[in-house]
Amino acid sequence: MNFDFSEEQTLLKDSVAKFIQNEYSYEARQKNSQSDAGYSEKNWSTFAELGWLCVPFTEEQGGIGGGPVEMMIMMEEFGKGLVVEPYFSSVVLSGGLLAKVGNENQQAELITGIIDGSKKIAFAYNESQARFDLHNVATQAEKNDQGYVINGNKSLVLHGASADLLIVSVRTSGESLDRDGITLLVVPANAEGVTVKATRTLDGQRAAEVQFANVAVGSDALLGEEGKAASVIDQVADEAILALCAEAVGSMEKLYKDTVAYTKERKQFGVAISGFQALQHRMVDMFTAHEQCKSLLLRAVLSYAAGDSDVAKNIAALKYQVGVSGQAVAHEAVQIHGGMGMTDEMSVGMYLKRINMINTLFGNADYHLQRFAELSAA
């Protein structure tokens, strides 16, 4: 048994870490976050050039066949830099769906577009009444001779406003809470009847509220099997949770390290505040929380890679603990930074806001605690 990275994995980690270190200062991140698109097109091209956009795809799809370990490596580094480029939405979510159930044409056109950076695709899965239930889908698609007509609303579509295409979960049969009857459709973002309202999120990222009013698409818009999308959505949700938790673990590492560094600089009562035992113990707790979350992350990632039977339990445990500990670590970081932790001048507050967002995406801590309890019941 060992937890060492392979040579290729080490190279990947070094390459992403170096980019974050050199090109992704907090000031640069904020500038990109506040630009029109909400991220840097130049960075996106760099991601493509460095081969990061192709990591999770198979060689036949044009990728390098990276698995959950490679994804974890990248997302953890992204979490340290609070990366705003739409990697998660386009590569992890949409790329994940296309790689799993896309037909030959869809893979040839769309995955190629993702990999070379020419196409951004957002996954519109969330609805306001659904809270965290991915199968609670009220957006309807009526089938006709030509294809489908979509009506409904999607909420918090990550990077929805900068996407060229949307993959939309719609209901083609059954009631809004049914697992069966959910279908995925690929819709051009500029199709007639699609209204995209761009929103900014508190963590400095972008999303959109999207309305579909009699949006007609051809039958070639169908992604995967009609009415059977629930299982691929669940599978991509698992990968999404692994990726988001890796990002959060990277953020937690940055938070405890930045806090330790700050307390060594900050002087009150004539001494550096790092000398106060009351603060030392709290920073030890932050460090411990990070290590424990990292352990659950490795446990979940490795069991997913191996296809173990207890993978669902491991993922629920991870998402719960990262939700609780991530917020606790971020709250402590703000508190120990004192008034400075409240300012936009320091980055701790932005890490807090990102960690809170991650906690909400794909089910919060309570949601996964309940799920875990059900899965582990005797």
Binding site: R131, L156, T199, Q268, F269, Q335, G339, M342, D366
Partner: protein, 389 residues
Amino acid sequence: MDIQFTPEDIAFQKEVRAFLSENVTDEIRRGYTGGEVDPDIMVKWQKILHKKGWVAPNWPAEIGGTGWTITQKYIFENECADSGAPSVIPFGLKMVAPVIYTFGSDEQKKRFLPDILESNVWWCQGYSEPGAGSDLAALQTKAELDGDHYVVNGQKIWTTYAQDADWIFCLVRTSSEGKRQAGISFLLIDMKTPGVEVRKIDTIDNQHTLNEVFFDNVRVPVENRIGEENKGWTYAKVLLTHERTAIAGVAQSKKGLQKLKEFTAQEKVGAGVLADDPLLAAKIAKVEIDLMALEYTELRAIASVSAGGAPGPESSILKIRGTEIQQAVSELTIEACGHYAHILNDGEAIGNDMSWVASAKYLYGRASTIYGGSNEVQKNIIAKMVLGL
């Protein structure tokens, strides 16, 4: 020992309710919703309270207070919070005024108190400095005597609502000899004096609440000093205990918790409502129990104060638990709001109407355990003053 309301108390409660239901309009409620306040609405509301004679329950009755019993004060606080009325801005009425009426000259009382009572002037507090936060006595803003004026140079930070303030009450260094605490004076400074500059601090809640205030050769008449030179620390300490008691915000937390419970009871999730979630319900229940305890701790503290003297070091408990509970309520509120709590308000509310206010309150609320003497400092005070450690 008796905690029952008397018939007089019940009559008083009815009177307060009638007054509030007539005067607390939706406009007044908008005076303060999260971190940022609308100064015009606040002045309007405080003038309404003043007209009724109820704006300064903490002042002695003979100079504009209400002369209420502690039970009446408790009733008033709770009814105000329940009506959604914004809390009065504390810097004038609750913070500088007690210092002026306790330690100021008759001249100063006549000059400053009426305008505070009538909300004609807006005050802010100049205590913290970049190098003097938890260690407040390290402050370095200097006031040097030049004839009948002090010349003030230095910088204050975290100054809440300085952008709207007419006056600032400051702790300044007038001597660097002896103990650090013994060289500090309490000065009232007109914000319009040449050399005073306010700069906004950009904060994580995306609102404008905090500022830096710079003093560049600001000339302040000696008559604006409260009490004796180099005795300012003693006066400020009295003020700080008042501030801590006010920060507890029990009535506001009760109202926040009630709103949260109402929201979870009507917010639809799947086939039921959010309140059906046993984990969320249990977390809300735990906070409610904490709050029930704190409410009585506060009442016990108020009762002992009314029996004589200023609040003691046990007011630090109120500050610690009060702010922790405020934060817990705000954390549960953003949790209840789900995805919508994380969308930035660009002028148009998205999703439920609770979520934007919730996230602004939550984010600004992270400061509550930092300001007014951080909770770590409060624990030091309890350890030293109460437990004798």
